[in-house]
């Protein structure tokens, strides 16, 4: 008897809830945001968020389709551990012979670009240390979380892996490496490179007002109505937000943080950001953010430039040498270090998140 009553009550509660929610649900799908086209996709585990302002639906859909297919193609080319051209290339470095001739020229362009940035960032961004990242167990879809043998890491470090050890033979369409400890992992490059590719596609479709978020890296073009695109920066210490920021047309923002991909062992966090000089995941800072307003390689810079700031002990000096005027780094003790230029552009929210802000 009691049970029966209880059930009836629950039913009544559910019915009334349905009534309350109904009013909202009935307009849920028909609600189209004026002038905005939005699309969200999952591409190889990375979220792609597209926002267009003031364009017709057909152009928006075609552009989205093309972006998605190009990104899928890029992933088939560059994925570090799944079946991809780069994966085949890495196997070739270990004396296997898999033909990469059909992708040779694309790979060459990408690898040379990556090499440029490796040299430019004083090897803080080093896509050749894939072997170390693999040892840390980040080259799989489900991270198991084991600490690798320091001797093995030291072995790889001693060989000083670098993209400059690769040689390209245009005639045979072969890429070879003088160092068999090189494993190319373009993880810190793909997102930014993709953003630049997307920008090219948008230009070809004459789309002027767009906001692209690919795995957290954001590229802004034009503006929605009479305001700028406005974005939030996530706090490295919790899931909440830390600041708001207006993005000028043609600017991109990227963050490297230890909260994106990591495993925890004995209450210690081991992040996927491996210092190419020490081979360890022990770093001073929890995140580094850069805002790029430069028109050349905007996307790549927003992705790559956050690495030297993250790994170095004196980010402001590195930033000066790389000519980065807008950057922010945060440490594990909830302190923020920020450049003057970015400080003037940001608006901090959630005051409880941080202890101090130091402006360079």
């Amino acid at each position: 008897m009691k049970l029966k009553n209880y059930r009836r009550n629950n039913l009544l509660k559910k019915l009334s809830l349905t009534f309350f929610n109904f009013i909202f649900l009935c307009t849920f799908n028909s609600c189209a945001k004026n002038n905005f086209y939005e699309n969200k996709q999952l591409i190889f585990g990375t979220i792609l968020e597209i926002k267009f302002f003031d364009i017709d639906k057909d152009t928006a859909e075609n552009a989205t389709k093309e972006i998605v297919s190009q990104l899928n193609e890029l992933n088939n080319l560059l994925h570090p551990w799944n079946e991809s051209a780069i994966h085949n290339l890495n196997q070739n470095f270990e004396n296997k012979r898999i033909s990469i001739s059909e992708n040779y020229s694309t790979l060459k362009t990408i690898l040379q670009k990556a090499l440029d940035y490796e040299n430019h960032t004083f090897h803080f961004f080093n896509p050749a240390i894939g072997k170390i990242i693999k040892l840390w167990g980040f080259h799989q879809d489900h991270i198991t979380g084991e600490i690798p043998n320091p001797k093995e890491i030291q072995d790889i470090l001693n060989s000083k892996p670098s993209l400059s050890q690769l040689s390209f033979s245009d005639r045979e369409k072969i890429i070879s490496s003088s160092n068999n400890k090189v494993l190319v992992d373009l993880g810190g490059f793909i997102k930014g490179y993709s953003l630049d590719k997307i920008q090219e596609i948008l230009n070809s479709y004459h789309i002027e007002n767009a906001l692209i978020n690919f795995g957290g890296n954001i590229l802004a073009l034009g503006k929605p109505s009479n305001r700028n695109w406005e974005i939030a920066i996530q706090s490295p210490w919790s899931s909440s937000l830390i600041a708001k920021l207006n993005l000028k047309s043609g600017s991109a923002i990227g963050t490297s943080g230890d909260y994106q991909k990591y495993f925890t062992l004995n209450e210690k966090r081991f992040s996927h950001l491996i210092n190419p000089f020490t081979g360890s995941s022990d770093n001073i800072y929890s995140s580094a953010t850069v805002l790029i307003e430069n028109k050349v390689d905007t996307g790549i810079k927003s992705d790559v430039y956050s690495k030297p700031l993250y790994f170095s002990k004196e980010p402001n000096k590195i930033a000066q040498e790389l000519n980065i005027s807008d950057f922010m780094v945060t440490d594990h003790d909830h302190n923020i270090f920020i450049s003057k230029s970015l400080y003037q552009k940001l608006k901090f929210v959630n005051d409880h998140e941080y202890k101090t802000i130091t402006v360079y």
Partner: protein, 123 residues
């Protein structure tokens, strides 16, 4: 002496006018509610401390006595230790201005209004 009053017959014109004016007010308010759009940011105030979160993630947030779940654009109170659990029963919210209150736990969950909202999150 008990008089035989017929309750429905004692309704007067003024009562009806008052009731209808309230109904019109309600219709007006709900017509505003219909225009509310989905929003990607939520503000959570717990014991006077306000925090803004992006709703574009899958995450459970722990507050004293209460668990809040964020799941791809919508937010709900997943579990609460308050006696009536009204906040828990309210279910998912995702549109501008929608609010869940839990008075015993001093907690307010509000989807941001469009004028305070943002376009995307860098992470």
């Amino acid at each position: 002496m008990i008089m035989n009053i017929k309750p429905l017959q004692s309704i007067k014109t003024g009562d009806l006018i008052l009731l209808f004016s309230f109904l019109i007010l309600l219709i007006y308010i709900f017509s505003i509610y219909f225009k509310f759009e989905k929003n990607n940011f939520v503000e959570i105030e717990a014991n006077g401390e306000k925090k803004i979160y992006s709703t574009q993630m899958i995450k459970e947030l722990q507050y004293p006595g209460i668990t809040i779940e964020i799941n791809n654009g919508k937010v709900r109170v997943k579990h609460s230790n308050c006696p009536n659990k009204y906040c828990q029963m309210q279910g998912w919210i995702s549109r501008n201005f929608q609010t869940i209150l839990c008075v015993p736990n001093n907690l307010r969950v509000t989807i941001l209004q469009s004028n305070e909202s943002l376009d995307s999150t860098n992470y």
